[in-house]
Symmetry: none
Subunit: 245 residues, 2 copies
C-alpha cells in the first residue's frame, strides 16, 4: 500500500529538511517524494541529513506547482497547523490514515502534502486537498519541524500497513516458554523449605510472606530458563547450609 | 502526566539532534531533558535546531552516566533498534505508552532513553530498563534519526495524555508504591554480593546470570514492600553464612 503514497513538500526553504523527510520516509517504507519549488535542491545538506536515503532524493520529482504534483493522485491530504476560516474536514493523523486505507486498498493513489517552514500551506493549496490533517501540538509552541511532521505521518502510515497486512512484520517477542502452574508449585514448596532452613521464615507462621512472594513471582510470569536459574540458586543456598553444619 | 516524564539522550554525537529532540519535546508538551555525556553541549547547532525550545535546552540536566540519569525514576523505557540476545519485554510505541499510563497516573516518574546515533544503547544500558521500546522500521533501512525517534515517542505520549485528560478522575490504579531505579541498583549490588558468597555466581563471570535476574525483577516492577522482603531474605542468607563459619 505504501508505494501508492507520495509525500509532497511545498516550497521547502531548508534543504536539510528535505533530507530529513527523505530519511523518515525510507525508515517507514515510503519512497516517492515530490518537491514543489524547493528553494535549494539538490544540496549537500539534504544529502547529509538523508543519511543513506539517497535513492529517495535521487528519485524525487521537482515540479512547479502543487496542482501539478497532485494531478495523478486520487486523494490528497494537506497538513495544517492552523484552523482555517473556511473549515475543511480536519483530522488527527490516526484518523486521516484510517480514511486513506480503503482508498489505498482500492488501488488508488494518495498524496500527503506539507507546506513551507514559515507559512505552511496557503488557502489555495489547502483547497486542493480532500482532507486536512492536523498534528496535535502544544498550543503555545505549535510549529513542528517539517521533517518531524513527515516522520509522524509516515509512522502512522507504517502502522496502518502493518495492521492491514495479514502477515505483519511487526516486532515479534521471542517465544519464551513459560512454566506450568505445577512447576510453579514445586518451586514454591522448595522456596519455602529453603527459607525455613535459613530461618528467614518462622516455622509457625510462613503464610503471609510466602503469599507476598507468590504474588511477586506469579506476576513476573516466569520462563522455563528463569525457573532453572532460581532453582539453581536455591540449591546453592541448600548446599552451603549442609556444608557448614 | 507529561511533566513526570524525562527524555534521556545518551552520548549524543551531533548537537543538532539535541536541539531537534528539544523542539519535538516542547511541541508535544514535554519539558524535562537529561543528557548523558553529550559530545558537544551547549552548542550553536543545538540552539538553531531547537527553533525556540530554548527553555528546554537551558533546563537540560547534564550527567555522567545513565544510572545517574534514571536514579530518581520508577519506570525506565529504553528505545532499541535491535533484537538483543537476552530478550527483554519488547513493545511498540503505542503499547509502551499504554504501559506507562497507569504508572504516571499513580504519580510516579518515568524516563524514556535514547542511545547514541551510531551504536544505540549498550547491553548494560538496556539492562537498566524495565521495557524496551521498538519503533517499527523498514528492515533494510532501520536506523532512525534520534530526534525523529524522540518525535514519534513524544507524539504517542501526547496522544496518551489527550485521551487520558477528559475524565481526569479515571479509574484509580492500586496505589502500591514502586521502587526507584536507585533502590533497584542497591538491591542488585547486594544480590550479586550474596550470590557470590553462596558460590552460586562464579567471581570471574557473574554477567549473564545477573542479566537474567535483572530482566526478571525489572519485569516484575517491584513494590516497596516486596523490596523489603527480598532484602530481608538476602540478609538472612548472609547471617547464616557468617554464623556457620
Amino acid at each position: 500500500l505504501l508505494e501508492q503514497i507520495s509525500i509532497v513538500l511545498v516550497s521547502t526553504s531548508h534543504p536539510g529538511n528535505i533530507g530529513g523527510a527523505a530519511r523518515a520516509m525510507k525508515n517507514m517504507g515510503l519512497g516517492q517524494l515530490v518537491l514543489v519549488q524547493p528553494k535549494e535542491f539538490p544540496h549537500a545538506e539534504a544529502t547529509a541529513r538523508a543519511a543513506g536515503a539517497d535513492d529517495v532524493l535521487a528519485g524525487a520529482k521537482v515540479v512547479g506547482s502543487l496542482a501539478e504534483a497532485v494531478a495523478p493522485c486520487h486523494f490528497v491530504v494537506g497538513t495544517s497547523a492552523r484552523q482555517r476560516t473556511v473549515s475543511w474536514p480536519l483530522c488527527a493523523p490516526r484518523q486521516s490514515v484510517e480514511k486513506m486505507l480503503p482508498i489505498l486498498q482500492a488501488g488508488q493513489r494518495v498524496a500527503v502534502v506539507f507546506g513551507n517552514e514559515q507559512s505552511g500551506l496557503s488557502n489555495e493549496e489547502l483547497a486542493l486537498c480532500h482532507l486536512h490533517l492536523h498534528i496535535p501540538c502544544e498550543a503555545q509552541f505549535s510549529s513542528l519541524n517539517v521533517a518531524a511532521a513527515v516522520q509522524i505521518v509516515t509512522y502512522e502510515l507504517r502502522l496502518m500497513q502493518l495492521a492491514a497486512l495479514p502477515d505483519s512484520t511487526s516486532p515479534v517477542v521471542e517465544d519464551e516458554k513459560l512454566v506450568t502452574v505445577a512447576e510453579m508449585e514445586q518451586f514454591y514448596t522448595r522456596l519455602e523449605q529453603v527459607l525455613l532452613q535459613i530461618r528467614y521464615l518462622k516455622p509457625n507462621n510462613p503464610g503471609k510472606l510466602m503469599l507476598r512472594l507468590r504474588r511477586l513471582f506469579n506476576r513476573a510470569m516466569l520462563e522455563a530458563k528463569e525457573m532453572q536459574i532460581l532453582r539453581g540458586l536455591l540449591n546453592s543456598i541448600d548446599d552451603r547450609m549442609q556444608e557448614d553444619r
